[in-house]
Symmetry: C2
Subunit: 407 residues, 2 copies
Amino acid sequence: MPNIGIVGAGIAGLQLGLKLRQHDVPVTIYTDKTAAQLASGRLLNSVAHHGPTIQRERELDVHFWPVEEYGYSCHHHYVGGPSPLSFRGDFARWSSAIDYRLYLPRLTKAFEERGGTLEVRMLQAEDIEPIADRHDLLVVAAGRGAFSALFPRRPEYSPYDKPQRVLSVGFYNGITYSEPKGVTISVSPGHGELLEIPMYSAAGFTTALLFENVPGGELEILGRKSYDEDPAGYERLVLDLLAKHHPQTFERVDPASFGLTGPLDILQGALTPTVRQDYAALPNGKYALAIGDVHTVVDPVVGQGANSASHSAWVTGEEILADYALDEEFCKRVAARRADVVLGAAQWTNFMLTPPPEHLLQLFGAMSQDQAVANEFTDNFDYPDRQWRILATPERTREFLARHAKS
Amino acid sequence: MPNIGIVGAGIAGLQLGLKLRQHDVPVTIYTDKTAAQLASGRLLNSVAHHGPTIQRERELDVHFWPVEEYGYSCHHHYVGGPSPLSFRGDFARWSSAIDYRLYLPRLTKAFEERGGTLEVRMLQAEDIEPIADRHDLLVVAAGRGAFSALFPRRPEYSPYDKPQRVLSVGFYNGITYSEPKGVTISVSPGHGELLEIPMYSAAGFTTALLFENVPGGELEILGRKSYDEDPAGYERLVLDLLAKHHPQTFERVDPASFGLTGPLDILQGALTPTVRQDYAALPNGKYALAIGDVHTVVDPVVGQGANSASHSAWVTGEEILADYALDEEFCKRVAARRADVVLGAAQWTNFMLTPPPEHLLQLFGAMSQDQAVANEFTDNFDYPDRQWRILATPERTREFLARHAKS
């Protein structure tokens, strides 16, 4: 039975740890924060879990927030401009968004209850060798920290050298959910996107507003201006910009009760989408495998990061359980098996950050006219490899639409 | 609906053509020989079809020789040397070996009956552009000929620059089948292998003897000496060398009736195992995809070539039917999806051509003691990727055997 070390207690590290514990594999997860620190800390993200991720949660017996009760069934699209488009796409399987300050501590608890070992400590570069010596395989599942330097950037899948969006995500009171309950994806051409997400947090149901702001656009300020220095002013600014740029969400806002749900319920920043090498040889002859953010950082604009990380953890777990050695051959198999989904998610996401090319606009136009097209695009949030098949070239989108037109 | 051109009417080209015709895709297969020429010509090979290939035949409605009647259930192993080993491994699903002078013409007929176009002509390098212009995708499924130069050799998967075995394969009278009916794999250490295969040909049930002779060994002469110049002398030589090197087969030979089934029923030669690039861009902007021998030539020592080609054809067909464009993205997907089986077959086969390392001998030893080990090794002829998992390193074989020892 191999002994596995996992660096990082995010969704990838925890789901992998839980999967291995289902088969009694000894696992240690290293993390720099306790579950209690996470639970009481600043907002971590505004992640949605799609159908395949929820299915994995069920199989891991950690689907603690039943999607039928906490989830949602669709995406509402709004594309602004001179002739705005508004349409809806339905999922075949529901999605849900649970505050990671609930989610990660609950999975951490399950991991420990099921015999996993958690070590809370800050790891430095000099810890790599002693930690590698304790395990047969090191799985690095932490996007930041000393261990990420093990995995060089892959330029062929990393087209950007700086962030393409300036982000502001917060949980807000005073927004009535869309009907049916769903995520609203609103595009303000030239200025960026808003993802309005029906979220469940410690305080109950709330709404996340994830502003994806184009640098240089009118909404960039939401990622730059300090909330703490002037909370009321920040909230007024959000309202004003919502009204101008994302009217479909604004029309469900009650200005009187609108406001952040708490001072820690906002996160601002920016990230550079990056794909890194799948694995690295360690000085002791063993291997370190990258999963989750340390392998692919994607912008959250189409909600793929956590789902991609969960997929990667699942494939890694299956291969650990199936294989006879955790050597380079093993690492290559994991890399090959996850490539379609994980690289598909990265490529699709990066594509969505470009100024929209003609074929994407054509697709949006078709979605507004043809419910089956809108549903397939929506359902493909579960299958980023299929989405990328459709979007990779203008010819592909044209053929996709031609087939729908015929059917 | 795309229009597909296939160069080559071997198993890969025909099975792909048949799969596409099941979905009404227009297909032209180019070949340099008519079915009648093949049927009346020299022996082509001594190919066994394993479980997954037979399953694909069923799905293509071309399983014309029911495996229950024409097939066999096991491998009989004999490893010579000072302490010979003899043991048997059983398949979960039966295999079968049908003379390709029956098989290919019958599939060609089915292909044409089902609306496929066959063009019999010799293609030259200057034909590439005009043929590419006639189709949306060119699938090259012919190991030889002008089109193979499109695909450069991949040195990382092509460890040899010359043949590792000198081959002689013939169909022989006078050999009683093993009991239960199966392929006998006989190893004469330092001199090579014999595969004795229960074969069905136009004349009925017969036996193929495929001699895999190590250059410089005592059996090399079987691949060098001309049969035609002295048929009786050649057959006497076969008998003598069988008696000395492959006694488990020899003991079922009746010398009085032993002999080749016909003057064309022998093929001698040698091949250099080679893996080539998956695809090539054509001058007109379209793509050529390599499947079968033009993609991977494997030595026949573990019977993987045709099965690997069939797998590659199947994956290619599925992707043609599923995808929206036959562009580089498409080619990369085919390459990624088939890599485990196709490269697994190539790597496993190349490994079997080396002087057997200690861990292979340990595996043979274990097979002779533990029926479950022998059965798993045998069944993995259906799954070369699984076989390669076990054999890629000594540590892997050790762990595989340790798990069997515990179970």
